[in-house]
Amino acid sequence: MSKKTINIPLGSQHISLLEPVRFKFECENEKIITVDSDVGFVHRGIERACTTKFKFDAIGYVVARVCGLCAITHSLSYTAAIEKLLGGEITAKSKYLRILLLELDRIHSHMLCLSHTCENAGFEAMFMRIMGDRELVMEIQELLTGNRIQFDYISIGGVNRDISSEISKKIIANLYEVKQRALGYMDEFTNNWSLSLKFKGIGALSLDDAYMLNAIGPLARASGLNIDVRNEIEYLPFDEVGFKMQTHRDGDINARNLVRLNEIINSIEMCNNILEGLPEGAIFTKLKGKPKGEAVIRFEAPRGELMYYVKGNGTAMLERVRIKTPTFSCIPAFSHIFVGENYADAPAILASFDPCLSCTAK
Protein backbone atom coordinates (compact mmCIF):
# COMPACT_ATOMS: atom_id res chain seq x y z
CA MET A 1 0.00 0.00 0.00
CA SER A 2 1.31 3.37 -0.83
CA LYS A 3 0.78 6.66 0.87
CA LYS A 4 -2.83 7.64 1.12
CA THR A 5 -2.59 11.27 2.08
CA ILE A 6 -2.53 14.35 -0.06
CA ASN A 7 -1.01 17.70 0.67
CA ILE A 8 -3.37 20.57 0.08
CA PRO A 9 -1.74 23.97 0.22
CA LEU A 10 -3.63 27.07 1.23
CA GLY A 11 -1.63 30.13 0.40
CA SER A 12 0.53 32.10 0.28
CA GLN A 13 -1.61 33.55 -2.51
CA HIS A 14 -5.13 32.20 -2.37
CA ILE A 15 -8.45 33.78 -3.10
CA SER A 16 -9.81 33.09 0.36
CA LEU A 17 -6.88 34.86 1.98
CA LEU A 18 -6.46 38.55 2.38
CA GLU A 19 -2.92 38.22 3.57
CA PRO A 20 -0.12 35.89 2.69
CA VAL A 21 0.01 32.93 5.00
CA ARG A 22 0.82 29.41 4.04
CA PHE A 23 -0.93 26.38 5.40
CA LYS A 24 -0.09 22.91 4.27
CA PHE A 25 -2.81 20.48 5.15
CA GLU A 26 -2.00 16.83 5.03
CA CYS A 27 -5.33 15.32 4.22
CA GLU A 28 -6.79 11.89 4.00
CA ASN A 29 -9.35 12.31 1.26
CA GLU A 30 -10.41 15.74 2.43
CA LYS A 31 -10.03 15.22 6.14
CA ILE A 32 -7.19 17.18 7.63
CA ILE A 33 -4.70 15.12 9.58
CA THR A 34 -1.81 17.45 10.20
CA VAL A 35 -1.30 21.12 9.63
CA ASP A 36 1.88 22.92 8.82
CA SER A 37 1.70 26.70 8.97
CA ASP A 38 4.04 29.42 7.87
CA VAL A 39 3.24 33.00 8.81
CA GLY A 40 6.27 35.15 8.17
CA PHE A 41 5.54 36.46 4.70
CA VAL A 42 4.80 40.03 5.68
CA HIS A 43 7.67 40.63 8.05
CA ARG A 44 8.85 44.14 7.36
CA GLY A 45 10.96 44.91 10.42
CA ILE A 46 8.83 47.59 12.02
CA GLU A 47 10.10 46.98 15.54
CA ARG A 48 13.64 47.58 14.42
CA ALA A 49 12.70 50.60 12.36
CA CYS A 50 11.04 52.08 15.43
CA THR A 51 14.33 52.15 17.24
CA THR A 52 16.51 53.25 14.33
CA LYS A 53 14.55 55.19 11.75
CA PHE A 54 11.85 57.13 13.50
CA LYS A 55 11.70 59.50 16.41
CA PHE A 56 9.41 58.59 19.23
CA ASP A 57 6.72 61.12 18.34
CA ALA A 58 6.33 59.71 14.83
CA ILE A 59 6.18 56.09 15.85
CA GLY A 60 2.51 56.30 16.77
CA TYR A 61 1.78 56.65 13.07
CA VAL A 62 4.29 53.99 12.05
CA VAL A 63 2.96 51.28 14.33
CA ALA A 64 -0.51 51.97 13.00
CA ARG A 65 0.82 50.46 9.77
CA VAL A 66 1.55 47.21 11.49
CA CYS A 67 -2.01 46.33 10.74
CA GLY A 68 -4.73 48.14 8.88
CA LEU A 69 -7.56 46.65 10.84
CA CYS A 70 -6.42 47.27 14.38
CA ALA A 71 -4.43 50.36 13.50
CA ILE A 72 -6.16 52.39 16.15
CA THR A 73 -5.32 49.92 18.90
CA HIS A 74 -1.70 49.90 17.90
CA SER A 75 -1.33 53.63 17.94
CA LEU A 76 -3.39 53.92 21.12
CA SER A 77 -1.27 51.36 22.92
CA TYR A 78 1.94 52.96 21.82
CA THR A 79 0.76 56.44 22.67
CA ALA A 80 -0.50 55.37 26.06
CA ALA A 81 2.87 53.80 26.77
CA ILE A 82 4.71 56.96 25.81
CA GLU A 83 2.32 59.06 27.86
CA LYS A 84 3.01 56.82 30.79
CA LEU A 85 6.73 57.36 30.34
CA LEU A 86 6.38 61.10 29.87
CA GLY A 87 4.23 61.22 32.96
CA GLY A 88 1.68 63.76 31.75
CA GLU A 89 -2.03 63.48 32.22
CA ILE A 90 -4.31 63.88 29.20
CA THR A 91 -7.82 65.19 29.25
CA ALA A 92 -10.77 62.90 29.89
CA LYS A 93 -12.41 63.95 26.64
CA SER A 94 -9.53 62.78 24.54
CA LYS A 95 -9.57 59.47 26.40
CA TYR A 96 -13.26 59.09 25.66
CA LEU A 97 -12.75 59.95 22.00
CA ARG A 98 -9.95 57.44 21.75
CA ILE A 99 -12.16 54.73 23.18
CA LEU A 100 -14.99 55.77 20.89
CA LEU A 101 -12.82 55.21 17.87
CA LEU A 102 -11.48 52.00 19.33
CA GLU A 103 -14.99 50.64 19.58
CA LEU A 104 -15.96 51.86 16.12
CA ASP A 105 -12.89 50.10 14.81
CA ARG A 106 -13.96 46.95 16.62
CA ILE A 107 -17.38 47.12 14.99
CA HIS A 108 -16.05 47.42 11.47
CA SER A 109 -13.36 44.82 12.03
CA HIS A 110 -15.85 42.33 13.38
CA MET A 111 -18.20 43.02 10.50
CA LEU A 112 -15.40 42.43 8.04
CA CYS A 113 -14.57 39.17 9.76
CA LEU A 114 -18.18 38.04 9.67
CA SER A 115 -18.57 38.88 6.03
CA HIS A 116 -15.31 37.20 5.15
CA THR A 117 -16.35 34.08 7.01
CA CYS A 118 -19.57 34.03 5.02
CA GLU A 119 -17.70 34.56 1.78
CA ASN A 120 -15.39 31.67 2.54
CA ALA A 121 -18.37 29.53 3.42
CA GLY A 122 -19.68 30.23 -0.06
CA PHE A 123 -22.44 32.60 0.97
CA GLU A 124 -21.84 35.46 -1.40
CA ALA A 125 -25.09 37.28 -0.72
CA MET A 126 -24.39 37.49 3.00
CA PHE A 127 -20.90 38.80 2.29
CA MET A 128 -22.35 41.53 0.13
CA ARG A 129 -24.97 42.34 2.71
CA ILE A 130 -22.56 42.74 5.61
CA MET A 131 -20.00 44.57 3.50
CA GLY A 132 -22.71 46.93 2.36
CA ASP A 133 -23.78 47.63 5.92
CA ARG A 134 -20.20 48.02 7.03
CA GLU A 135 -20.03 51.16 4.91
CA LEU A 136 -22.26 52.82 7.52
CA VAL A 137 -19.46 52.47 10.03
CA MET A 138 -16.81 53.46 7.53
CA GLU A 139 -18.78 56.60 6.83
CA ILE A 140 -18.76 57.77 10.43
CA GLN A 141 -15.13 56.86 10.82
CA GLU A 142 -14.36 59.04 7.84
CA LEU A 143 -16.41 61.86 9.32
CA LEU A 144 -14.72 61.54 12.66
CA THR A 145 -11.12 61.15 11.56
CA GLY A 146 -10.92 62.08 7.90
CA ASN A 147 -9.85 58.67 6.64
CA ARG A 148 -11.49 55.34 6.18
CA ILE A 149 -8.85 52.90 7.30
CA GLN A 150 -5.58 54.39 8.55
CA PHE A 151 -6.96 57.06 10.83
CA ASP A 152 -3.86 58.63 12.35
CA TYR A 153 -6.28 60.08 14.85
CA ILE A 154 -4.32 59.65 18.05
CA SER A 155 -1.26 61.65 18.80
CA ILE A 156 0.81 61.89 21.93
CA GLY A 157 -1.18 64.09 24.28
CA GLY A 158 -4.64 63.61 22.87
CA VAL A 159 -6.45 63.27 19.58
CA ASN A 160 -6.13 65.23 16.35
CA ARG A 161 -9.72 66.21 15.65
CA ASP A 162 -12.59 67.36 17.71
CA ILE A 163 -16.07 66.01 17.41
CA SER A 164 -18.96 68.29 16.51
CA SER A 165 -22.55 67.79 17.53
CA GLU A 166 -23.57 67.04 13.90
CA ILE A 167 -21.01 64.29 13.70
CA SER A 168 -22.18 62.98 17.02
CA LYS A 169 -25.76 62.85 15.80
CA LYS A 170 -24.73 61.16 12.61
CA ILE A 171 -22.78 58.58 14.55
CA ILE A 172 -25.74 57.80 16.75
CA ALA A 173 -28.07 57.56 13.77
CA ASN A 174 -25.76 55.26 11.82
CA LEU A 175 -25.01 53.09 14.81
CA TYR A 176 -28.70 52.65 15.41
CA GLU A 177 -29.02 51.44 11.85
CA VAL A 178 -26.05 49.08 12.27
CA LYS A 179 -27.59 47.66 15.41
CA GLN A 180 -30.79 46.80 13.57
CA ARG A 181 -28.78 45.11 10.85
CA ALA A 182 -26.71 43.22 13.39
CA LEU A 183 -29.86 41.84 14.97
CA GLY A 184 -30.86 40.73 11.49
CA TYR A 185 -27.58 38.88 11.06
CA MET A 186 -28.06 37.24 14.41
CA ASP A 187 -31.29 35.83 13.09
CA GLU A 188 -29.64 34.69 9.85
CA PHE A 189 -26.71 33.03 11.59
CA THR A 190 -28.93 31.15 13.99
CA ASN A 191 -31.68 30.10 11.61
CA ASN A 192 -30.21 29.66 8.14
CA TRP A 193 -30.12 25.95 7.40
CA SER A 194 -27.11 25.95 5.11
CA LEU A 195 -25.10 28.16 7.43
CA SER A 196 -25.81 25.86 10.31
CA LEU A 197 -24.44 22.95 8.26
CA LYS A 198 -21.39 24.99 7.56
CA PHE A 199 -20.83 26.57 10.97
CA LYS A 200 -22.39 24.62 13.78
CA GLY A 201 -20.05 22.12 15.34
CA ILE A 202 -17.29 22.96 12.86
CA GLY A 203 -13.87 24.09 14.04
CA ALA A 204 -14.70 23.67 17.69
CA LEU A 205 -12.26 24.54 20.46
CA SER A 206 -13.08 23.26 23.91
CA LEU A 207 -12.71 25.37 27.01
CA ASP A 208 -9.81 23.29 28.30
CA ASP A 209 -8.00 23.51 25.00
CA ALA A 210 -8.60 27.23 24.83
CA TYR A 211 -7.04 27.55 28.27
CA MET A 212 -4.14 25.21 27.55
CA LEU A 213 -3.33 26.66 24.14
CA ASN A 214 -3.41 30.22 25.36
CA ALA A 215 -6.21 31.41 23.14
CA ILE A 216 -7.33 35.01 23.55
CA GLY A 217 -9.88 37.39 22.12
CA PRO A 218 -13.16 36.29 20.56
CA LEU A 219 -11.64 32.86 19.87
CA ALA A 220 -11.30 32.23 23.62
CA ARG A 221 -14.54 33.93 24.55
CA ALA A 222 -16.45 31.74 22.11
CA SER A 223 -15.15 28.74 24.02
CA GLY A 224 -16.36 30.17 27.31
CA LEU A 225 -13.08 31.59 28.58
CA ASN A 226 -13.96 35.04 29.89
CA ILE A 227 -10.84 36.95 29.10
CA ASP A 228 -11.03 40.53 27.95
CA VAL A 229 -8.51 43.25 28.64
CA ARG A 230 -11.25 45.83 28.89
CA ASN A 231 -12.29 44.10 32.05
CA GLU A 232 -8.86 44.39 33.59
CA ILE A 233 -7.40 47.81 32.83
CA GLU A 234 -8.31 51.12 34.33
CA TYR A 235 -7.55 53.39 31.42
CA LEU A 236 -11.23 54.23 31.24
CA PRO A 237 -14.10 53.19 33.46
CA PHE A 238 -15.25 50.56 30.99
CA ASP A 239 -17.98 49.37 33.34
CA GLU A 240 -19.51 52.79 33.32
CA VAL A 241 -19.61 53.10 29.55
CA GLY A 242 -21.45 49.82 29.43
CA PHE A 243 -18.93 47.12 28.75
CA LYS A 244 -20.27 43.58 29.12
CA MET A 245 -18.29 40.41 28.67
CA GLN A 246 -19.65 38.33 25.79
CA THR A 247 -19.04 34.61 25.94
CA HIS A 248 -20.44 31.52 24.40
CA ARG A 249 -20.03 27.86 25.27
CA ASP A 250 -19.81 25.96 21.98
CA GLY A 251 -16.48 27.18 20.69
CA ASP A 252 -17.35 26.49 17.05
CA ILE A 253 -17.52 28.90 14.14
CA ASN A 254 -21.10 29.73 14.94
CA ALA A 255 -20.17 30.59 18.52
CA ARG A 256 -17.40 32.87 17.33
CA ASN A 257 -19.78 34.60 14.97
CA LEU A 258 -22.34 35.10 17.71
CA VAL A 259 -19.73 36.42 20.11
CA ARG A 260 -18.63 38.91 17.48
CA LEU A 261 -22.21 39.95 16.81
CA ASN A 262 -22.87 40.41 20.52
CA GLU A 263 -19.69 42.42 20.81
CA ILE A 264 -20.80 44.62 17.95
CA ILE A 265 -24.05 45.30 19.75
CA ASN A 266 -22.23 45.90 23.02
CA SER A 267 -19.78 48.22 21.32
CA ILE A 268 -22.64 50.19 19.84
CA GLU A 269 -24.06 50.64 23.31
CA MET A 270 -20.68 51.71 24.58
CA CYS A 271 -20.33 54.25 21.77
CA ASN A 272 -23.73 55.66 22.54
CA ASN A 273 -22.88 55.93 26.22
CA ILE A 274 -19.55 57.53 25.45
CA LEU A 275 -21.16 60.11 23.20
CA GLU A 276 -23.79 60.82 25.83
CA GLY A 277 -21.36 61.25 28.68
CA LEU A 278 -18.63 62.95 26.66
CA PRO A 279 -16.96 65.38 29.04
CA GLU A 280 -16.21 68.92 27.95
CA GLY A 281 -12.69 70.11 27.61
CA ALA A 282 -9.66 70.24 25.37
CA ILE A 283 -8.78 67.37 23.14
CA PHE A 284 -5.05 67.87 23.35
CA THR A 285 -2.52 68.56 26.08
CA LYS A 286 1.07 69.20 25.20
CA LEU A 287 3.39 66.73 26.84
CA LYS A 288 7.02 67.66 27.21
CA GLY A 289 10.20 65.75 27.60
CA LYS A 290 11.69 62.58 26.22
CA PRO A 291 10.58 59.09 27.19
CA LYS A 292 12.76 57.42 29.77
CA GLY A 293 12.22 54.08 31.43
CA GLU A 294 10.02 51.11 30.58
CA ALA A 295 6.28 50.85 30.14
CA VAL A 296 3.96 47.98 29.39
CA ILE A 297 0.50 48.71 28.07
CA ARG A 298 -2.26 46.33 27.18
CA PHE A 299 -5.41 47.00 25.17
CA GLU A 300 -8.09 44.83 23.71
CA ALA A 301 -7.76 44.85 19.95
CA PRO A 302 -10.66 43.37 17.94
CA ARG A 303 -8.73 40.09 17.90
CA GLY A 304 -7.66 39.99 21.51
CA GLU A 305 -5.04 41.32 23.79
CA LEU A 306 -2.43 43.60 22.30
CA MET A 307 0.62 44.33 24.44
CA TYR A 308 3.23 47.01 23.98
CA TYR A 309 6.53 47.24 25.73
CA VAL A 310 8.37 50.50 25.25
CA LYS A 311 11.77 51.35 26.64
CA GLY A 312 13.18 54.82 26.31
CA ASN A 313 16.56 56.18 27.29
CA GLY A 314 15.80 59.87 27.44
CA THR A 315 16.57 60.62 23.78
CA ALA A 316 14.24 61.01 20.83
CA MET A 317 15.16 57.50 19.69
CA LEU A 318 13.63 54.71 21.67
CA GLU A 319 15.72 51.85 22.88
CA ARG A 320 13.20 49.10 22.36
CA VAL A 321 9.65 48.71 21.11
CA ARG A 322 8.19 45.26 21.52
CA ILE A 323 4.79 44.38 20.15
CA LYS A 324 2.97 41.22 21.13
CA THR A 325 -0.01 40.79 18.89
CA PRO A 326 -3.18 38.77 19.51
CA THR A 327 -2.93 36.47 16.48
CA PHE A 328 0.55 35.44 17.50
CA SER A 329 -0.79 34.00 20.74
CA CYS A 330 -3.56 32.17 18.98
CA ILE A 331 -1.49 30.29 16.40
CA PRO A 332 -1.18 27.07 18.48
CA ALA A 333 -4.94 27.07 18.88
CA PHE A 334 -5.41 27.56 15.11
CA SER A 335 -3.31 24.55 14.24
CA HIS A 336 -5.08 22.52 16.88
CA ILE A 337 -8.54 23.37 15.56
CA PHE A 338 -7.78 22.43 11.97
CA VAL A 339 -6.91 18.84 12.77
CA GLY A 340 -9.78 16.51 12.10
CA GLU A 341 -11.81 19.00 10.11
CA ASN A 342 -12.74 18.79 6.47
CA TYR A 343 -10.66 20.76 3.98
CA ALA A 344 -13.89 22.18 2.62
CA ASP A 345 -14.32 23.97 5.91
CA ALA A 346 -10.75 25.17 6.22
CA PRO A 347 -11.17 28.60 4.58
CA ALA A 348 -14.23 29.36 6.67
CA ILE A 349 -12.51 28.21 9.86
CA LEU A 350 -9.50 30.32 9.01
CA ALA A 351 -11.64 33.36 8.37
CA SER A 352 -13.52 32.80 11.60
CA PHE A 353 -10.27 33.13 13.56
CA ASP A 354 -9.98 36.56 12.02
CA PRO A 355 -6.23 36.14 11.80
CA CYS A 356 -4.10 39.20 11.37
CA LEU A 357 -0.81 38.03 9.97
CA SER A 358 0.33 41.49 9.22
CA CYS A 359 0.24 42.03 13.01
CA THR A 360 1.94 38.75 13.65
CA ALA A 361 4.86 39.23 11.32
CA LYS A 362 5.21 43.01 11.82
Binding site: I6, I8, A121, M128, L195, L197, K198, N342, D345
Partner: protein
Protein backbone atom coordinates in the same frame (compact mmCIF):
# COMPACT_ATOMS: atom_id res chain seq x y z
CA UNK B 1 -34.23 24.44 -40.29
CA UNK B 2 -35.25 26.20 -37.12
CA UNK B 3 -33.62 23.36 -35.18
CA UNK B 4 -30.29 23.89 -36.92
CA UNK B 5 -30.49 27.56 -36.14
CA UNK B 6 -31.27 26.80 -32.52
CA UNK B 7 -28.40 24.37 -32.24
CA UNK B 8 -25.95 26.86 -33.69
CA UNK B 9 -27.21 29.61 -31.44
CA UNK B 10 -27.47 27.46 -28.33
CA UNK B 11 -24.31 28.77 -26.67
CA UNK B 12 -25.35 32.33 -27.38
CA UNK B 13 -28.72 31.85 -25.78
CA UNK B 14 -27.00 30.23 -22.85
CA UNK B 15 -24.71 33.23 -22.61
CA UNK B 16 -27.70 35.53 -22.49
CA UNK B 17 -29.25 33.49 -19.70
CA UNK B 18 -25.96 33.61 -17.84
CA UNK B 19 -25.74 37.37 -18.30
CA UNK B 20 -29.30 37.79 -17.10
CA UNK B 21 -28.49 35.69 -14.11
CA UNK B 22 -25.43 37.69 -13.15
CA UNK B 23 -27.47 40.85 -13.42
CA UNK B 24 -30.24 39.36 -11.34
CA UNK B 25 -27.89 38.09 -8.70
CA UNK B 26 -26.31 41.51 -8.39
CA UNK B 27 -29.71 43.11 -8.03
CA UNK B 28 -30.62 40.63 -5.34
CA UNK B 29 -27.44 41.58 -3.55
CA UNK B 30 -28.30 45.25 -3.78
CA UNK B 31 -25.71 45.96 -6.44
CA UNK B 32 -25.88 47.30 -9.94
CA UNK B 33 -24.15 44.35 -11.49
CA UNK B 34 -22.43 43.86 -14.83
CA UNK B 35 -24.08 44.63 -18.14
CA UNK B 36 -26.35 42.02 -19.67
CA UNK B 37 -23.85 41.19 -22.39
CA UNK B 38 -20.97 40.77 -19.97
CA UNK B 39 -20.52 37.03 -20.72
CA UNK B 40 -19.94 37.88 -24.36
CA UNK B 41 -17.40 40.55 -23.49
CA UNK B 42 -15.62 37.93 -21.43
CA UNK B 43 -15.80 35.54 -24.34
CA UNK B 44 -14.24 37.96 -26.80
CA UNK B 45 -11.60 38.93 -24.33
CA UNK B 46 -10.62 35.33 -23.70
CA UNK B 47 -10.09 34.79 -27.43
CA UNK B 48 -7.68 37.65 -27.45
CA UNK B 49 -5.57 36.40 -24.56
CA UNK B 50 -2.25 34.65 -24.75
CA UNK B 51 -2.99 30.95 -24.42
CA UNK B 52 -1.23 28.78 -21.89
CA UNK B 53 -1.05 25.01 -21.90
CA UNK B 54 -0.07 22.67 -19.11
CA UNK B 55 -0.11 19.58 -21.27
CA UNK B 56 -1.93 18.70 -24.49
CA UNK B 57 -4.18 16.00 -22.99
CA UNK B 58 -5.59 18.44 -20.52
CA UNK B 59 -6.49 20.99 -23.15
CA UNK B 60 -7.90 18.53 -25.65
CA UNK B 61 -10.08 16.89 -23.01
CA UNK B 62 -11.43 20.30 -22.08
CA UNK B 63 -12.40 20.92 -25.69
CA UNK B 64 -13.97 17.50 -25.95
CA UNK B 65 -16.09 18.37 -22.96
CA UNK B 66 -17.42 21.42 -24.75
CA UNK B 67 -18.09 19.68 -28.04
CA UNK B 68 -19.83 16.72 -26.46
CA UNK B 69 -21.97 19.01 -24.38
CA UNK B 70 -22.97 20.83 -27.53
CA UNK B 71 -23.87 17.47 -29.04
CA UNK B 72 -26.07 16.77 -26.04
CA UNK B 73 -27.91 20.03 -26.52
CA UNK B 74 -28.22 19.38 -30.24
CA UNK B 75 -29.74 15.96 -29.63
CA UNK B 76 -32.26 17.37 -27.21
CA UNK B 77 -33.28 20.00 -29.74
CA UNK B 78 -33.48 17.39 -32.49
CA UNK B 79 -35.68 15.24 -30.28
CA UNK B 80 -33.51 12.14 -29.98
CA UNK B 81 -33.60 9.43 -27.34
CA UNK B 82 -33.70 10.93 -23.84
CA UNK B 83 -31.78 8.11 -22.21
CA UNK B 84 -29.04 8.39 -24.80
CA UNK B 85 -28.86 12.10 -24.20
CA UNK B 86 -28.42 11.52 -20.48
CA UNK B 87 -25.58 9.09 -21.07
CA UNK B 88 -23.92 11.35 -23.59
CA UNK B 89 -24.07 14.06 -21.00
CA UNK B 90 -22.35 11.71 -18.59
CA UNK B 91 -19.65 11.23 -21.20
CA UNK B 92 -19.14 14.96 -21.47
CA UNK B 93 -18.82 15.29 -17.70
CA UNK B 94 -16.31 12.50 -17.71
CA UNK B 95 -14.17 14.32 -20.24
CA UNK B 96 -14.10 17.26 -17.87
CA UNK B 97 -13.15 15.06 -14.94
CA UNK B 98 -10.39 13.40 -16.90
CA UNK B 99 -9.11 16.82 -17.85
CA UNK B 100 -9.07 17.81 -14.21
CA UNK B 101 -7.10 14.75 -13.24
CA UNK B 102 -4.63 15.03 -16.10
CA UNK B 103 -2.65 17.87 -14.59
CA UNK B 104 -0.51 17.83 -11.56
CA UNK B 105 -2.47 20.43 -9.71
CA UNK B 106 -4.03 19.69 -6.40
CA UNK B 107 -7.02 22.00 -6.70
CA UNK B 108 -7.83 20.58 -10.09
CA UNK B 109 -7.76 17.10 -8.61
CA UNK B 110 -10.02 18.01 -5.73
CA UNK B 111 -12.39 19.69 -8.13
CA UNK B 112 -12.50 16.64 -10.37
CA UNK B 113 -13.07 14.37 -7.46
CA UNK B 114 -15.94 16.50 -6.26
CA UNK B 115 -17.33 16.58 -9.78
CA UNK B 116 -17.30 12.78 -9.78
CA UNK B 117 -19.18 12.71 -6.51
CA UNK B 118 -21.65 15.23 -7.89
CA UNK B 119 -22.29 12.90 -10.83
CA UNK B 120 -23.01 10.22 -8.30
CA UNK B 121 -25.64 12.49 -6.81
CA UNK B 122 -27.47 13.60 -9.92
CA UNK B 123 -27.07 10.81 -12.43
CA UNK B 124 -29.54 8.34 -10.80
CA UNK B 125 -32.14 11.08 -10.62
CA UNK B 126 -31.66 11.91 -14.29
CA UNK B 127 -32.07 8.24 -15.20
CA UNK B 128 -35.23 8.02 -13.10
CA UNK B 129 -36.50 11.11 -14.80
CA UNK B 130 -36.00 9.45 -18.17
CA UNK B 131 -37.82 6.35 -16.98
CA UNK B 132 -40.65 8.49 -15.65
CA UNK B 133 -41.13 10.01 -19.08
CA UNK B 134 -40.90 6.55 -20.61
CA UNK B 135 -43.70 5.23 -18.42
CA UNK B 136 -45.87 8.21 -19.26
CA UNK B 137 -45.28 8.28 -22.99
CA UNK B 138 -44.18 4.75 -23.78
CA UNK B 139 -41.09 6.06 -25.45
CA UNK B 140 -37.76 7.63 -24.63
CA UNK B 141 -37.92 9.85 -27.68
CA UNK B 142 -37.84 13.51 -26.79
CA UNK B 143 -39.88 14.37 -29.86
CA UNK B 144 -42.67 12.13 -28.56
CA UNK B 145 -42.44 13.66 -25.10
CA UNK B 146 -42.72 17.10 -26.65
CA UNK B 147 -45.86 16.17 -28.53
CA UNK B 148 -47.71 14.88 -25.51
CA UNK B 149 -49.56 16.89 -22.94
CA UNK B 150 -47.68 18.37 -19.96
CA UNK B 151 -46.20 15.80 -17.61
CA UNK B 152 -45.76 18.22 -14.76
CA UNK B 153 -48.69 16.95 -12.73
CA UNK B 154 -47.95 13.25 -13.08
CA UNK B 155 -44.23 13.69 -12.60
CA UNK B 156 -44.48 16.32 -9.91
CA UNK B 157 -42.29 14.54 -7.36
CA UNK B 158 -39.66 13.86 -9.98
CA UNK B 159 -39.91 17.50 -10.93
CA UNK B 160 -39.09 18.43 -7.35
CA UNK B 161 -36.13 16.03 -7.41
CA UNK B 162 -35.03 17.60 -10.67
CA UNK B 163 -35.17 21.05 -9.06
CA UNK B 164 -32.62 19.87 -6.54
CA UNK B 165 -30.10 18.97 -9.17
CA UNK B 166 -30.30 22.25 -11.04
CA UNK B 167 -28.00 23.98 -8.53
CA UNK B 168 -25.53 21.11 -8.81
CA UNK B 169 -25.31 21.39 -12.55
CA UNK B 170 -25.30 25.16 -12.67
CA UNK B 171 -22.78 25.42 -9.83
CA UNK B 172 -25.04 27.41 -7.56
CA UNK B 173 -25.28 27.54 -3.81
CA UNK B 174 -25.95 25.43 -1.86
CA UNK B 175 -24.66 22.69 -4.14
CA UNK B 176 -21.65 24.28 -5.76
CA UNK B 177 -18.94 22.47 -3.84
CA UNK B 178 -17.40 21.13 -7.02
CA UNK B 179 -16.46 24.60 -8.14
CA UNK B 180 -16.02 26.24 -4.74
CA UNK B 181 -14.10 29.33 -5.63
CA UNK B 182 -13.04 30.13 -2.09
CA UNK B 183 -11.71 26.65 -1.41
CA UNK B 184 -10.28 25.29 -4.62
CA UNK B 185 -10.29 28.33 -6.89
CA UNK B 186 -12.73 26.97 -9.43
CA UNK B 187 -11.73 23.33 -9.21
CA UNK B 188 -11.47 21.69 -12.61
CA UNK B 189 -11.21 24.88 -14.57
CA UNK B 190 -8.27 26.26 -12.63
CA UNK B 191 -5.54 25.28 -15.07
CA UNK B 192 -7.29 26.44 -18.23
CA UNK B 193 -6.45 29.83 -19.58
CA UNK B 194 -6.97 32.10 -22.54
CA UNK B 195 -8.76 30.66 -25.51
CA UNK B 196 -8.77 27.21 -23.94
CA UNK B 197 -10.61 28.47 -20.93
CA UNK B 198 -13.14 29.80 -23.38
CA UNK B 199 -14.34 26.27 -24.06
CA UNK B 200 -15.04 25.68 -20.43
CA UNK B 201 -16.60 29.08 -20.03
CA UNK B 202 -18.96 28.45 -22.93
CA UNK B 203 -19.62 24.91 -21.77
CA UNK B 204 -21.09 26.51 -18.69
CA UNK B 205 -23.59 28.32 -20.92
CA UNK B 206 -24.45 25.09 -22.65
CA UNK B 207 -25.03 23.54 -19.26
CA UNK B 208 -27.73 26.18 -18.74
CA UNK B 209 -29.36 25.29 -22.01
CA UNK B 210 -29.19 21.59 -21.21
CA UNK B 211 -30.80 21.93 -17.83
CA UNK B 212 -33.53 24.33 -18.94
CA UNK B 213 -34.34 22.23 -21.99
CA UNK B 214 -34.81 19.24 -19.73
CA UNK B 215 -37.00 21.42 -17.57
CA UNK B 216 -39.13 22.37 -20.58
CA UNK B 217 -39.83 18.69 -21.19
CA UNK B 218 -42.10 18.73 -18.17
CA UNK B 219 -44.32 21.14 -20.04
CA UNK B 220 -44.77 18.80 -23.01
CA UNK B 221 -46.51 20.53 -25.89
CA UNK B 222 -47.60 23.50 -23.83
CA UNK B 223 -45.15 26.26 -24.71
CA UNK B 224 -46.77 28.77 -22.42
CA UNK B 225 -46.39 26.48 -19.45
CA UNK B 226 -42.79 25.84 -20.49
CA UNK B 227 -41.97 29.53 -20.52
CA UNK B 228 -43.69 29.98 -17.19
CA UNK B 229 -41.77 27.09 -15.69
CA UNK B 230 -38.51 28.50 -16.97
CA UNK B 231 -39.21 31.92 -15.51
CA UNK B 232 -40.28 30.59 -12.13
CA UNK B 233 -37.45 28.10 -11.80
CA UNK B 234 -34.91 30.64 -12.98
CA UNK B 235 -36.03 33.04 -10.30
CA UNK B 236 -36.24 30.34 -7.67
CA UNK B 237 -32.76 29.01 -8.35
CA UNK B 238 -31.28 32.47 -8.04
CA UNK B 239 -33.21 33.15 -4.90
CA UNK B 240 -31.93 29.98 -3.29
CA UNK B 241 -28.45 30.77 -4.51
CA UNK B 242 -28.62 34.06 -2.69
CA UNK B 243 -30.03 32.66 0.50
CA UNK B 244 -27.73 29.74 1.20
CA UNK B 245 -24.11 28.93 1.86
CA UNK B 246 -22.17 26.25 0.06
CA UNK B 247 -22.62 22.92 1.77
CA UNK B 248 -20.08 20.17 1.85
CA UNK B 249 -19.90 17.32 -0.64
CA UNK B 250 -20.88 14.73 1.95
CA UNK B 251 -23.97 16.70 2.90
CA UNK B 252 -24.78 17.22 -0.75
CA UNK B 253 -24.65 13.49 -1.42
CA UNK B 254 -26.79 12.67 1.56
CA UNK B 255 -29.39 15.31 0.85
CA UNK B 256 -29.71 14.90 -2.90
CA UNK B 257 -29.54 11.13 -2.93
CA UNK B 258 -31.76 10.74 0.11
CA UNK B 259 -34.49 13.15 -0.85
CA UNK B 260 -34.17 12.82 -4.62
CA UNK B 261 -34.26 9.04 -4.73
CA UNK B 262 -37.19 8.88 -2.34
CA UNK B 263 -39.16 11.39 -4.35
CA UNK B 264 -38.35 9.70 -7.64
CA UNK B 265 -39.17 6.29 -6.22
CA UNK B 266 -42.53 7.41 -4.89
CA UNK B 267 -43.34 8.98 -8.20
CA UNK B 268 -42.43 5.90 -10.24
CA UNK B 269 -44.39 3.59 -7.96
CA UNK B 270 -47.33 5.96 -8.05
CA UNK B 271 -47.18 6.10 -11.84
CA UNK B 272 -47.32 2.37 -12.23
CA UNK B 273 -50.33 2.13 -9.94
CA UNK B 274 -52.34 4.76 -11.76
Amino acid sequence: MIEILLIVCAPLIGGLIYGLERKMRARMQNRQGPPLLQPFYDMWKLIDKQAFIINPYHTILGMMHFISLWMVVAFIILGENLLYVIFLHLLSSIFLILAGFSVKSIYSHIGSNRELLAILAYEPILIMLGVGFFILNGSFDISVIRENSPALASLFLLFLAFLMLIPIKLKKSPFDASEAHQEIVGGVEIEFSGVFFEFLYMAKWLEYIFIYLLLMLFAGDNILLGTGLFAIVFFLVNLVDNATARIKMSHLLKIVLGIGLTLGMCNLIGLSYV
